[in-house]
Symmetry: D2
């Protein structure tokens, strides 16, 4: 008999939407892979297309030129390019696109409080523990550290603040099998680890949370980025516990339970990454990152 105990889930009716915040980004991504044997690989590098992300001038080049297949996952909207490399050799991918996003900038007070109420079935899976987010072990810790905050929104804010002050960002300090448990013990990691810990702590408090990869404006050093979203007040709110990006300036690529779901490249057979270039630049020359103070007052949402 298996039984999972979660805490009270509070939801709410969706408030009226404030006007969206349009922004445009120029994105370039180059990847060079070497295949030593026939290999099929799936890239997840194209931004999602939805009511908050409009793509123009999209250009995907593969050298050597060859047919390849595009897929869009009907549930998540994640977009894949599937390449069948039948010959050993070097495969160059160059992807360019301009993305117009329309994130909502909500003042904290606009996020409705969440009285005990209707349960949202479609976020249920995002309350459950996943490979790198062992929320099932973190109930006590989360309750002790963040249980006193009155609303889910304040709990998430406190979690982001706690992570940012207790975990060190150290490039190369973790591997692809590092999980939120490891990060709690070792207290260091990269964007992926910060997101995993945030997700695990939110789920432990019964706040649905998911992981997404993205292109972040002027990320330094340039790379793919990873952040997380929480379902609070009837919306997905965006958070970056590393502080390296501003949530309004991240273009979404893949969304999933954790990093297991949204690898940049999933290869069926061995494939070596030789070189990677990622550039994401806001086209508004006056764009400036939200400050830490602003992020205490303002939430960003795509829904």
């Amino acid at each position: 008999m298996q039984c999972t105990t979660l805490r009270i889930l509070k939801t709410s009716t969706l408030p009226l939407l404030p006007p969206a915040l349009p922004m445009r980004f120029q994105i370039t991504c180059e990847l060079d892979y070497t295949a030593t044997a026939p290999v099929i690989f799936l890239l997840n590098i194209r931004p999602k297309i939805n009511s908050h992300q409009m793509l123009t001038d999209e250009k995907f080049t593969l050298v050597p030129q060859m047919p390849h297949v595009q897929h869009t996952d009907p549930v998540t909207g994640n977009r894949f390019d599937q390449i069948t490399a039948q010959l050993p050799g070097v495969y160059h991918i160059r992807y360019q696109v301009i993305v117009e996003t329309s994130a909502l900038k909500l003042s904290m007070s606009e996020i409705p409080d969440m009285p005990l109420g209707e349960f949202e079935l479609d976020v249920l899976a995002l309350l459950y523990p996943s490979r790198y987010c062992q929320s099932d072990r973190l109930g006590n810790l989360a309750a002790k550290l963040f249980g006193e905050f009155e609303t889910p929104l304040k709990q998430v804010q406190a979690i982001v603040k706690w992570i940012s002050s207790h975990i060190d960002y150290v490039s190369g300090s973790t591997t692809s099998t590092t999980s939120s448990e490891d990060t709690l013990v070792e207290r260091q990691g990269v964007c992926r680890d910060f997101a995993h810990l945030g997700i695990a702590l939110c789920r432990a408090l019964n706040i649905p949370a998911r992981y997404f990869t993205g292109y972040a404006h002027e990320l330094n050093p340039p790379d793919f980025h990873a952040c997380f979203e929480t379902w609070v007040g009837g919306r997905w709110l965006l958070w970056d516990a590393t502080g390296l990006s501003s949530p309004d300036a991240v273009v979404h690529i893949g969304t999933g339970r954790d990093a297991a779901d949204v690898s940049v490249c999933t290869s069926f057979g061995y494939l070596q990454l030789d070189r990677q270039t990622v550039i994401c630049q806001a086209l508004d020359p006056d764009y400036r990152k939200l400050s830490e103070e602003e992020l205490q007052q303002v939430c960003i949402s795509h829904s």
Copy 2:
């Protein structure tokens, strides 16, 4: 930059279906819970309804009588009863149903070999590691132990056999946070752990695998059961590495990546299980479990 390496995925065209094997089961499930404070809980005890499971005489009783909500997950087909217990007290649930299943009984030779070919996007998530199935750490082990078997089907058979001879079934030996890694080290567990290890090993060999809970004919001791399915030859094939049930005699309740997705009861707030009764009986008096020898020759599928 995150990158996942999987091995070659082989798929195939769907073969012609042999006639299905109809069976009828009488199921009774009783659960008594005590709530000490207001609590919302979701039960996942109703069998799925699909082309292989037909339900009749379904009866769900809740005492004290009160309205409750039924949900069916549109993606998985899992069926939930959501109960809002606003008053502390004891809640009795009694559920009865007759289920007619039509499993396919396929001889191993009917499962097509899987030449390198088209990728099936909808099973992609079932190749990725999950909370209790850390396939990302098992690549070497799986390749060394099972890599030599020529086809995915033979690999799965070898995995089931290996688990059944290397892991001891010991009631009470594990907890709700035990994972496939733990089972590999401690070499004991219950049905949930056997299924998790099977799934993790299959995924590590690039064979999509998922977890399901079910009602198993004359399971001893009576309880909910857990098994796993693998996507081989264009179908979901059913496996029970514990040997306690016969895969043709398991009625499916919930399907998911692992046990995290298919708890019998997910409560938002504390809820105590006081008593549980589970009965599942094949209505054909002549039914007899498939023998170990038969299970070397025959696969069961619901798809």
Copy 3:
């Protein structure tokens, strides 16, 4: 090439000893074991004999009566009774003793500061990680939480305080394989887990620390107890992060790197504990536990 990085170890000359604090305890311990096959077992239930623990009226009874062997470990001073149970059956052990301890009660200011200086080789092993105290993974966490405190003594005090406010004492919440990493993640445990976490954090800050089992005055519920010692200012100072006992009122049984070294019973073959009674009572009727306030000002040492 293996290399371990520790932080600066500060030691000092031994200060003059203040007069010791004599206390007398009446201890009774009864253990009933069932052997189902021949088994040799080692009990570690007798208090140590040293300049701080004087034993009188010691009485060890074994029923059925049979010869058994006493050992004292020359390095640790731990005392063992080795029993060879050649016949299956029930073995009753009854142990009684009166112990006079002479703990030192030191005001914090009497513990010398520890300027950079001579390295003490005999405590080196107590800086290294052990089975249940993975200090090698806790360097960042310990430095971030406790690095700011100026002296090793203040660091240990802060560690004890942090554990006592961040970890819940929950009987039965852990098992014999639970380690300090688990406790950091799950935030609950019993005396053994509190001691392991204290030791791991101290070692991570380069403060030698060890584990000891003992009889604690009026422990509630009555059981064997576990605490830890740190090597600070040229002495072993005693700490109980659970707050259940007063360090001046704990009679030492076994000392080791962690619980692995000081099991109450180590059996070579299967042996079942049927019943256990442990009583430890200070003979001074006026004895009162040190208060939390006092324990902020006063340290207890046996050396």
Copy 4:
């Protein structure tokens, strides 16, 4: 109440010693460290001196020249050089020595069988789990895989063979926190990991086992080496599950419970290793490594 269950320990009287096998080795070790702040460090690079290892022409040079302290641990015999680097800068260590070892070469039949008998207290700690050898979790696995072998000697042989066929030697595949559990799951590692797994499995079968570092004849690539010893038949027998060295051609440096105890360098403060050279050459030009076949018949002991 803490209780440890071990299996039956079999010991024996010490048989008459066959004549020892004298061998001479020329060892050179160079280490360059950079200190960026004052740091004290302990090197454990000098071979032990005992009845089986005689040292001549020992020469330890430190540049810049400065006084440093030598220690020998009275219990283990491990030899340390303690260097206090008060100034930042580069520290060059050059160590040279000729070692004459007198290992015993015993045919398997000379190792006495071990009837149930007297318990050896001084090896008790080497039955307990340690940081990297979690034997407390491996009881089932060890019993299932190796329980059928009749004697401890045959069990150890089977363990060494199993490790060598189930674990891949992959340089750089593990880190300083990798343990025997990880190696069982990931099935790859370096000499340290092979030794840890061997030790853990032996202890799980109640065979005392310990770790040692050494200089191995013509190790390729040249480095410090790590192997393990088991207490069987009244002696410490030497094993190298990696097969990279021949146990008769390894000069012992440090002995401990596992790698935690015998780091080449333990620094109190941050110290960076810039360069390392290790050379160990048997001086007998005719020396040849024991073959795999010989190692099925012959055991090497230093005691």
